[in-house]
Amino acid sequence: MIDVITTEVIRSALESLSEQMTDTMERTSYSVILKEGKDCSSSLFDATGRLMAEGANIPVHLNALGPCLKAMLREHFPIESLEPGDVILTNDPYVGGSTGAHHTSDFIVYYPIFHNGELIAFSTIFAHLAGTAGQDPEGWHKTIFDEGLRIPPIKLYKRGELDEQLFRMILANTNSPYEQRGDILAQVAGARVGAQGLLSLIEKYGWDVLQEAIEAQIEYARDRTKNQISRIPDGRYTAESQILEDGSMGGPYTIRLAIEVTGDEVHFDFTGTDPAMPGPQNCPMSATISATLFGLLALMPSDIPKNEGPNSQIRITAPEGSLVDPRPPRAVYQRMAITHRIVDMIFKALAPVVPDAVNAESCGLVYMNGSAINRETHPTGGDLTGRHLWLNMGPSVGGLGASADSDGLSAMASWMTNVATPSVEGMEVGAPVLYLQRALRPDSGGAGKRRGGLGTIIKWKALGYDVEVSHTSQRFAVPAAGLLGGQPGATSRWVINEGTDREYDLPPAGPTIELEYGDTLTFYSAGGGGYGPPEDRPRELIERDLKLGFITERGLSAYAPVENGSE
């Protein structure tokens, strides 16, 4: 029996190894979204696809690779077909049903690790590669074929040899092949670090000892998860949520969730969820799994190791072909719309039994992207006639829901996302656009004992020609709800040419729109829901909010209901 100290030392070494993989990739990659946004995560799996250790940067990456690995081993590359030096690449959401990549911009590298001629583990990296999902990644896609090249699991390297022909074919389908080449090679370099690191740990401790330590860690994480689940009273807890609730793009579509807690196990049952839509807001099963795990683990101490342990206590079922487990040819690029909802639904369903652990509802998904012909401001003095893509405009933030002990975070991405927002200065260099405002949106946080986080106001003017803009926001018609007496946050809103005679509103989502040179776009992002009755909010917090302008005189009324028309 291995001692607790060695187990801990090995756990630290494995987690350290995952971090080194991510660091190696970040340092050597090209895309801004990887280097500044850190939109990549690394994990180590055993030969059967069980998660040994994970270095996730972003919640939606939580155990994102396990289901895909298992399906790949089952359907594409059985263990015996893999050889030392092989590197497998995929970005296909539809591996093993829909347990592949979360969307086609997520490139996954699997690096099989051999010890004494036997395949013992996989070193894997998952990275968001910008420019891989077609010309208009955030547009309103009708099918997966609108979302760029789909790469089922293929061997990019065979016995250590890069397949240059295949690589050229993949790169020819991306927006900036030189960046993507660097990114994919950086990804392979990171995965190789994981493989070498594991082999040197084996040399140091022996594979037997290492395996024992891994089993002990998995058991430890499972025990702590069991402990935590046991604290939730047995029962069946349900929640229902609608997307595109205003009726746009064929909505509303309904997600239904029943959470069945029995002792130390939980079953998340999505039965009754609507069939997948003919648009991009479908959520592959792999992303449904990540969101569900996050929603549950967010209720528990944050230091429970993220390995296979917790997974075994959780069962997830979803109707095949539904919004949460779609099938080809459904588009999936905006799957985050549903992952954010799943987290809010888990919080809402369990609020009556674990009120101190949950948050009120949050702003959900925000996407904004565009392109224009830029005749004036190209930063490098380069081609002034070509279409200039606005990559990563990044205002994907709003207000988060409040909790029993704190106000909601303002101007933050919803729970499943965590990508840093680029600077206004950086974006103006990168795109023909002049920002007029980027500010907190007063009075947008739901009133409550704990106030919901504030949304933001973003306003910019297009300085390019033939401008095309794709956009999505949630909490448009139905706001982020408060909890236990808390009030809802403000809804989101898109306005073109606000304050002029050419002003008009956009629907929350839909086909790419066209703007003229000089048009302005103003986006009001949604606020988070409040927690507890507003009248329980301490006076000094209300006064502080007023002083700092988080609420105005108008917003004050939510805290002091006028009685009998007097006062």
């Binding site: 001692d3 080194q20 430890y220 490098t380 600077s423 206004v424 002083k547």
Partner: protein, 682 residues
């Protein structure tokens, strides 16, 4: 030359080092810090060490003062009345930050740091410039004038306008207006402090500067007056984050430059040691009671970065790269609800401190474990001044760790030490690998009060080629203060492709940057003794990280491109000659060299080899272990592990199989005799 005095004010202790430039003799001392009136501790310490060395205050040539604690205290104390001026529409720049949850991503209770300047003290000014310098909206001078008049009791303002890093006219106009209308208000312009793109980081840098400036100025003026009173009239310098020193007056005018300077002094001393030992590439580990700082020294030179942060607020400055990694000798061991042993991040600090201090601490710490294992002598740390109480350490370890986990006392203690090492290991690996270094190519230089305690375990696990423990490990930081050059950095953003940069333009930019550098360091001299070094920050177009090359000859785009491909391949393992290379920034460093010091090792004659005493020490099993006294060691002494070397303020542990050699400057060089053993051998 005469004498130099280094004073490093820490949270609990003020460390002092006095050096005789002629003989190389070094005196070290330590007095309690005085947080209420920080200069009191400095004066007390200076008087004490000068008295012990029998040196007249008047014969000091140079004094260097480490100020990190003062800056932190001002920032956390929070009493400066500060305002922020921004471009209209962007007043929430500090509130919005980068919209990134940089804590544990599973922690839904995480909170971002509170902005330094609150929202009600932010004023949006009508003005706007594009990134190409076009003025979309001219500065509303009348608005600024009337605002200045209305600012009441505001002491200090920060100004950050969009794109001011390249076009700073409007920011400078604001300063002119304040000089005219409200000369009593101190003004910090973001464009003065950094040339980097990113309005949030620049605004944060300016806000921190504005917040700290009035208080730091008062502190320095008071300190200088007090120093004069005890006869110290030599120039007094303070450490900058970039590893150089500047006068107190210059520091008071630009406080962001002196931030994070405390841990930097240790890195400078470690780098100096590496230079003397043949330009080693090393990882330095500065482990104190509550924290550990790690840095990489590349061929004897510390590495620099252009960004840093203070209490969660970004501060864009050229800084020696040093990472705090948490664990220290006071890190507390505990058992979590899943039955796993953990060490840290909570620390017992200096008060109450580890259980064995007998000052009321009841939680077992790394220090307690080291005592139980026999690494530390019960006779205490500071030359016997503080006795350590083994029975208290033993009680805490048994109650909190050994009992619940069903381990023996020494197994539990050994586990605590190994886990403390594992936590540091993870951070060191991260630090080195993320910067492109393989730990196996490095040596480790370990110092600080606890640096010798787990240095050997770390060096085995990291498989570094050797471990070096300098003399007086507890005073290395204060010594580093005395080794630094006077230095001033300037920079200018270019953001152009290599071939679009004209050599004549670049030469002009460099000349003007060097003029600024000279002005900053002139200090009543002709400036003839100043050296200038020119740099270019480069990246592949589209990358987000820069690499820096020296650029001292004529500008040749071909050479620059080639050099960049070369260092990119060296650093990251790949380069791509088809990629365009971008020049991001031109930078200059102006330096006035500080004369080198050769530290003398003890050379007084000694009969025969060093004579150890022995005690039982636990290394997975109890071993009768020789205990050496550091002051009795002489250069070229060698001995085999396991061993322990004791000295005032510090203890070095060598593992079974280690080989130790005393170097000419008195440092210990510890190397594994054979290949590293597995840590599972029990």
């Amino acid at each position: 030359m005469g004498y130099r005095l280094g004073v490093d004010t820490g949270g609990t202790h003020t460390d002092l080092v006095l050096i005789d430039d002629v003989s190389g003799t070094v005196w070290v001392d330590k007095v309690p810090s005085t947080p209420a009136v920080p200069s009191d501790g400095v004066i007390n310490g200076a008087k004490q060490i000068l008295g012990k060395a029998q040196v007249q205050a008047e014969s000091l040539d140079l004094m260097v003062y480490g100020t990190t604690v003062s800056v932190n205290r001002i920032l956390q104390g929070g009493s400066t009345r500060t305002a922020l001026l921004t471009t209209a529409g962007f007043g929430d720049v500090l509130e919005l930050a980068r919209a990134y949850r940089f804590g544990n991503i599973y922690d839904t209770r995480w909170k971002p740091p509170k902005p330094i300047i609150s929202r009600d003290n932010v004023h949006e000014i009508s003005e706007r410039v594009t990134f190409r310098g076009d003025v979309v909206t001219p500065l509303d001078v009348a608005q600024v004038e009337s605002l200045a008049a209305q600012l009441g009791d505001i002491e200090s303002i920060a100004v950050c306008f969009l794109h001011s890093n390249q076009f700073s006219d409007h920011e400078r106009a604001v300063r002119e207006i304040f000089l005219r209308v409200r000369p009593d208000i101190s003004v910090s312009l973001s464009s003065d402090l950094t040339a980097s793109t990113g309005e949030y980081e620049r605004a944060s840098t300016a806000a921190v500067d504005a917040f700290v400036k009035p208080r730091l100025k008062e502190h320095f003026e008071y300190l200088e007056a007090q120093l004069r009173e005890i006869g110290i009239t030599c120039p007094v310098y303070t450490m900058q984050g970039n590893g150089g020193v500047m006068t107190l007056a210059a520091a008071a005018a630009s406080p962001v430059r002196v931030m994070n300077s405390g841990p930097v002094a240790g890195v400078i001393a470690g780098a100096d040691l590496c230079q003397q030992l043949g330009n080693l590439t090393a990882v330095t580990l500065d482990m104190g009671g509550t924290s550990t700082d790690v840095a990489v020294v590349n061929e004897g030179r510390p590495r620099e970065t252009q960004s840093g942060q203070l209490h969660g607020n970004p501060v864009s400055q050229s800084t020696i790269e040093v990472d705090p990694i948490g664990a220290g000798g006071g890190s507390v061991a505990w058992v979590d609800d899943g039955g796993a042993l953990r060490v840290g991040p909570h620390s017992a600090g200096a008060d109450p401190g580890p259980a064995c201090y007998g000052k009321g601490g009841t939680e077992p710490t790394v220090t307690d474990a080291a005592l139980v294992l026999g690494y530390l002598s019960p006779d205490g740390l500071l030359g016997g001044a503080t006795k350590l109480r083994r029975e208290l350490a033993s009680e805490a370890i048994n109650r909190v760790v050994a009992g619940p986990l069903g381990l023996t006392e020494h197994e539990a203690a050994y586990g605590i030490v190994r886990l403390a090492a594992a936590a540091s290991l993870r951070a060191i690996r991260r630090m080195t690998v993320a910067r492109g270094f393989d730990p196996r190519d490095l040596v480790m230089v370990s110092f600080g009060g606890a640096g010798g305690l787990i240095g050997a375990i770390l060096s085995h696990e990291l498989e570094v080629s050797g471990l070096i423990i300098p003399t007086n490990p507890g005073n290395v930081s204060a010594r580093g203060l005395l080794l630094t050059d006077q230095r001033h950095d300037e920079m200018w953003p270019l953001n152009k492709l290599v071939h679009d940069v004209a050599g004549s333009d670049l030469a002009e930019i460099y000349t003007s940057l060097e003029k600024n550098g000279t002005a900053a360091l002139l200090d009543g001299t002709t400036g003839a003794d100043l050296e200038h070094v020119r740099f270019l920050d480069l990246r592949y177009l589209g990358q987000a990280f820069d690499l820096t090359i020296e650029s001292n000859g004529d500008y040749n785009p071909e050479h620059v491109t080639e050099e960049f491909h070369r260092i990119h391949a060296e650093r990251y393992g790949h380069s791509d000659k088809s990629n365009p290379v971008q020049v991001v920034m031109a930078r200059t460093t102006t330096v006035r060299r500080t004369p080198n010091i050769t530290f003398a090792a003890a050379t007084s004659p000694r009969e025969g080899g060093p004579v150890p005493i022995h005690r039982d020490v636990y290394f997975g099993e109890w071993r009768k272990t020789p205990i050496y006294t550091r002051s009795e060691l002489r250069p070229d002494d060698t001995f085999e592990g396991p061993f322990i070397v004791q000295e005032q303020g510090s203890t070095t542990v060598g593992l079974p199989g280690d080989h130790c050699k005393v170097l000419s400057d008195g440092s210990l060089l510890i190397t594994p005799k054979s290949s590293p053993r597995t840590s599972t051998s029990r």
